[in-house]
């Protein structure tokens, strides 16, 4: 398999998941697409240096996390004002699952930068050992973080729901 074929296979396999991760970061579809593209440019540029010390998915998701962190550093998303935002509440959406997911992404967007990628990976059903490998933190530390993030996310989500 040449580099082009390998790249296409990797793109087909991971693009959807990476886009979800980017969406969790930005809460914006267009920006998520941009970050997805940036991620795969880095994948293309660095493919020749991949040494199979980790899985392809770990390696690609790590690039995506670094790309997202770089984006947030340059352009912080506007903070959402829960009280005064024109954001629709769950009641407006007639309890549709799709709108709940959108609300969840908006809630994730209010978390701290690193918490956003961790919870996005959890929602992607990535195993904890892989999330730890992607983020470069210990599994114990990760478990503590996830517990705290879930608690915080629930509070944010409920604060939207109460509106």
């Amino acid at each position: 398999m040449n580099q082009q074929e390998q790249f296409t296979a990797l793109y087909n396999q991971y693009a959807t998941g990476i886009k979800k991760l980017c969406l969790g970061y930005t809460g914006d579809e267009a920006l998520a697409k941009d970050l997805l593209q940036e991620t795969f440019i880095s994948v293309w540029n660095n493919m020749k240096d991949f040494r199979a010390e980790s899985k392809w998915s770990t390696w690609i998701y790590r690039i995506a996390v670094n790309t997202c962190l770089g984006y947030l550093r340059k352009k912080k998303p506007a903070t959402i004002d829960i009280e005064h935002s024109d954001f629709k509440t769950p009641a407006d959406y007639e309890n549709s699952i799709e709108q709940d997911v959108q609300l969840l992404y908006k809630s994730i967007n209010r978390l701290a930068e690193t918490d956003r990628f961790i919870i996005s990976l959890v929602l992607e059903d990535k195993p904890y050992d892989e999330i730890a490998a992607i983020s470069g933190i210990t599994e114990n530390n990760l478990r503590v973080k996830i517990f705290r993030i879930k608690k915080q996310l629930t509070e944010i989500y409920n604060s939207y729901a109460r509106l």
């Binding site: 940036e38 440019i41 293309w44 660095n46 690039i63 770089g70 690193t114 470069g136």
Partner: protein, 181 residues
């Protein structure tokens, strides 16, 4: 091809920063080559050796600045997106710390050396010219240089320093988020 499509539409900031440095370095090298070619082949018929020395100094300053920019390009290229986030963030932090230090001396030094060379170059050019013309030219030249250095230059440096401080502080915040449970 998928890779081509992606390359055409993306706004990769690291690559953009690399291209800026690479493009700047190439332009400076071309300037140095043009000035050197003029001095060597254009039959300028200057009678003083120091006029040619000034041209050589301008070329040398351009070459040194090009080397400096190429070094920044290499530093950017060395930032590795495949490292774990903490290491990747540290690489950017080191880069911005380096740029912050360089900004303090690079522009003033480049500016002073280039103007010394220009001053020497103009010595012969002004010989035998009407004194009023020389005074008008030097006044306009000096006024522009002083304005661009003390007003525009200082403002740019202050703005850049503020920007770098914010970036470094944000990088430290994210690093802290990663290390704290």
């Amino acid at each position: 091809m998928l890779a081509d499509t992606i390359n055409k539409t993306s706004l990769n900031t690291k690559r953009k920063m690399q291209k800026q440095q690479q493009g700047g370095a190439i332009m400076l090298l071309m300037t140095a080559a043009l000035i050197a070619a003029l001095a060597l082949f254009a039959n300028l018929n200057f009678t003083k050796w120091y006029t040619y020395a000034a041209m050589a100094l301008i070329s040398l300053v351009c070459i040194c600045q090009a080397a400096f920019m190429f070094n920044i390009y290499r530093k950017l290229k060395a930032i590795n997106e495949t490292e774990i986030p903490a290491v990747h963030l540290q690489q950017w932090e080191h880069y911005y710390e380096m740029r912050k230090k360089q900004n303090k001396w690079n522009m003033p030094l480049y500016y002073v050396l280039l103007n010394i060379a220009m001053g020497i170059y103009l010595l012969e050019l002004f010989t035998g010219r009407p004194i009023v013309n020389v005074i008008i030219f030097l006044t306009v030249y000096a006024a522009w240089m002083l304005f661009s250095y003390f007003y525009l230059g200082k403002r740019i440096i202050a703005k850049e320093e503020k920007r770098l401080k914010i970036i470094i502080s944000e990088l430290k915040t994210i690093e802290l988020q990663l290390s704290n449970p």
